[in-house]
């Protein structure tokens, strides 16, 4: 009650409160629906929601070794070496006294291990740099050879992103080995994400709402939106070029496709070098802010598909759909494919709720170059919610989550701080919360585990982008390649079509005999 009172008081003082009404709020002609004010917010990328390392039983062996204080960098080669260890081999016949003197000269602490070939692993005291110690030892008459204890890593291309360990979905489809062949596509490949938007700008944005003017902080999505990465963004709801995400769904989907990778930050994306074209057609908190504003309609989606094709998208991701048949969507998809864009479409999440036919998913089977994507769980089995019909053509990881902290089985990707955006609220709940003074923030981010065919679809869109940059530059051929090299799984063709998407096999293609 105290919070409500204080909120109401603040609103009155600010003079912006308008009595909440049902029905549409007509916008005064010439007045923008949303506009930025000041630079305001800076993105904050927060940690995991719980303490997942213990809960997830992730193998932490080696994490201690990775602590930076153990390693130093050789200024000549750039190689990392143990700061406190030197490999030394004494001359044959070097007396114990000479050895002891050599070790003392470098403040050698102990010889914890003698290796084959008479190499000894010498530990030096804290404060002594192994490189300097090696130089001193090399000049010692008793020493035959000396070397730093350099660090080696596996040559397999696993990203170093902070939370990559949560992305079991990439391991399930053998993506690290696919990246050995194709490192995240190239920037000349454009992927359009027709969804709930993506924060392409930072700042406080003021919205004309049913509650008057409300301001919310937004920040560019860290590790995803960077200068030069975004092409022709558009908000089909507000009809402007800042498709701010008021939900988080579009951000998550875009992250799976193009999250920046191998930068020691955040998470990884399938095709992390592509440029993104965020096109907003789905609503979020604006469902409550401007209830009369149309969002998520077939007409809007079809318009966005054509826009994407006309603005150079090579791949279009549609993690959306509904039970309403819409020829306008089918024609838009055909239009896009004819202009060279591959279209990935979610199969729908009602597999365990009567499994109704979903659109535009149902169109894809008849359109070469468009694919409907079902979801599998961490075990590679069809996720219970994943729609199953003859039009499902391929599967990808969609995850299954018990709650918002289920990093173990969900598809984890960058998203909004869930405590500050409260996803999955109904419009009346949102309106009530707004009335009570709650203000969602769209500038705080954290790893978020989601589930759904919405999450599976961007895997396929990302793989299509990889294939495009590898040389398969026709949407029909991309579909054939994805199907041809899919991994068979324990599922019917209605559940998963050709099987589980396998980017490595698809990228590798065919030799003469294998």
């Amino acid at each position: 009650m105290r919070r409500l009172v204080s909120t109401l008081a603040a609103a009155v003082v600010a003079g912006v409160i308008v009595i909440a009404q049902d029905g549409p709020q007509l916008q005064t002609p010439g007045t923008p629906a949303k506009w930025p004010t000041g630079q305001g917010a800076a993105a904050v990328f927060e940690g995991l929601r719980t303490t997942p390392l213990e809960r997830l039983a992730i193998d932490t062996t080696g994490l201690a070794d990775a602590l930076p204080e153990y390693w130093a960098t050789d200024p000549v080669t750039g190689a990392q070496y143990r700061r406190d260890e030197v490999l030394v081999r004494f001359r044959e016949g070097a007396s114990p006294a000479l050895r002891a003197r050599a070790l003392a000269a470098v403040r050698g602490r102990e010889v914890p291990r003698v290796l084959p070939g008479n190499w000894e692993l010498l530990t030096v005291e804290a404060g002594v740099d192994a490189r300097e110690a090696a130089a001193v030892l090399a000049a010692d008459q008793a020493v035959e050879e000396v070397a730093l204890n350099y660090r080696v890593t596996a040559f397999q291309k696993r990203p170093n992103d902070e939370y990559y360990r949560l992305q079991w979905n990439f391991e399930l489809i053998d993506l690290p080995r696919a990246w050995e062949i194709n490192s995240g596509a190239t920037s000349d490949v454009v992927v359009a994400v027709i969804d709930s938007g993506l924060n392409v700008a930072s700042g406080t944005f003021v919205f004309t709402t049913g509650f008057g003017l409300l301001a919310f902080p937004f920040a560019r999505v860290p590790d995803l939106v960077e200068e030069g990465r975004i092409l022709a963004p558009y908000d089909f709801v507000y009809r402007d070029e800042t498709p701010l995400d008021l939900d988080g769904h579009g951000t998550h989907v875009a992250g799976t496709i193009g999250q920046l990778t191998n930068n020691n930050l955040g998470l990884a994306g399938v095709a992390y070098n592509v440029r993104l074209m965020p096109l907003r057609v789905l609503s979020g908190w604006d469902t409550a802010l401007t209830p009369g504003r149309s969002a998520g309609t077939n007409s809007m989606v079809s318009e966005a598909i054509r826009y994407a094709a006309d603005h150079g998208a090579h791949v279009i991701n549609l993690s959306l759909g509904g039970p309403g048949d819409a020829p306008v969507l089918r024609e838009a998809i055909r239009y896009a494919v004819d202009r060279g864009a591959f279209v990935a479409i979610a199969a729908g999440n009602a597999g365990d709720k009567g499994n109704p036919v979903q659109y535009p998913a149902a169109y894809a089977a008849d359109i070469p170059g468009a694919m409907t994507v079902g979801a599998v769980d961490r075990d590679g089995k069809r996720a219970p919610y994943s729609g199953y019909h003859a039009y499902v053509e391929i599967c990808a990881p969609g995850g299954t989550v018990r709650d918002e902290t289920d990093y173990e089985r969900g598809i984890t990707q960058v998203g909004y701080n869930q405590a500050l955006t409260l996803p999955r609220l109904t419009a009346p709940e949102m309106r009530l919360l707004l009335l009570l003074g709650f203000r969602p923030r769209f500038d705080r981010f954290e790893p978020v585990p989601f589930q759904g065919t919405s999450m599976a679809t961007p895997h396929v869109a990302g793989v299509a982008a990889l294939l495009y940059s590898q040389g398969i530059n026709d949407p029909r051929a991309i579909e054939e390649a994805i199907k041809r090299f899919a991994r068979p799984i324990d599922a019917t063709t209605e559940e998963c079509g050709a099987g589980l998407v396998d980017p490595r096999r698809a990228l590798r293609g065919l030799g003469l005999t294998r």
Binding site: A477, L510, G511, T513
Partner: protein
């Protein structure tokens, strides 16, 4: 067989050497002998060479061009459809009249790139280097039509082993191919004797290699299942 060949070669070599010694004038005595009679005019090269008898042995090197039948598959992965081959071998002639036997090894290695072929037959090169290496060991027998001419045509047939290796960048364990297959061939060619020990010749060969192709890769997509093909080689041989 081998001891016989060596013995024959030794006998023939000794005979030739002995004959040469008998015919050749002693060089040390030239300045004290009366001027020698003018040498007999050289025999025209077109004059038939004397027919030879006894078992002959030749070692040869060869260079040539392969012409595999599965051209579409080769083109699909960017391999040249006329790979060059090198090789060598040995031949035993006059085993009985014109009967000869030979063993020949030839080898070619070419590079292309892995590809994808869609249902419309369009090829999409993927930029992943692909190496194909093929070796043939052919054992043949045939008939040389030896007469008094320096030009000796021959025909033959035989069997052998085709060894096929395929590898590409990013191969994981078990993904490259290293296999052998029995092959069969027919051949024909001709030798021309340039000097007593030196021969040149040309040979055309057609191999039947069932298998190797068609189990996977573009050859399966294109339904090219046999690795048959012709080879035309030039050879240089030493022997008698």
């Amino acid at each position: 067989m081998r001891p016989v060949v060596i013995t024959c070669r030794a006998i023939v070599a000794a005979a030739i050497l002995g004959g040469a010694m008998l015919v050749a004038p002693p060089t040390a005595a030239q300045d004290v002998q009366p001027p020698a009679a003018p040498p007999a005019p050289m025999a025209p090269t077109s004059e038939p060479a004397p027919a030879r008898s006894g078992i002959g042995v030749q070692g040869f090197g060869l260079i040539g061009v392969n012409m595999p039948v599965p051209v579409e598959s080769f083109e699909a992965v960017g391999l040249p459809t006329r790979p060059s081959e090198v090789g060598g071998g040995a031949r035993v002639t006059r085993l009985w009249r014109g009967l000869f036997a030979q063993a020949a090894w030839s080898h070619w290695k070419e590079s292309g790139e892995r590809s994808f072929i869609d249902s419309a037959g369009r090829r999409f090169p993927l930029g992943i280097p692909l190496d194909v290496e093929v070796s043939f060991l052919d054992i043949s027998a045939g008939w040389r039509f030896e007469g008094r001419s320096r030009f000796i045509p021959y025909l033959g047939a035989g069997a052998g082993v085709a060894k096929y290796r395929e590898s590409s960048l990013f191969d994981a364990s078990g993904e490259n191919v290293d296999t052998r297959q029995t092959s069969y061939h027919v051949l024909g060619g001709a030798d021309v004797r340039l000097a007593r020990w030196l021969w040149v010749g040309g040979e055309a060969r057609y191999r039947f290699v069932p298998g190797i192709l068609g189990e996977g890769g573009v050859s399966a997509e294109l339904d090219e299942r046999e690795f048959n093909g012709a080879a035309v080689t030039a050879r240089i041989a030493v022997g008698f």
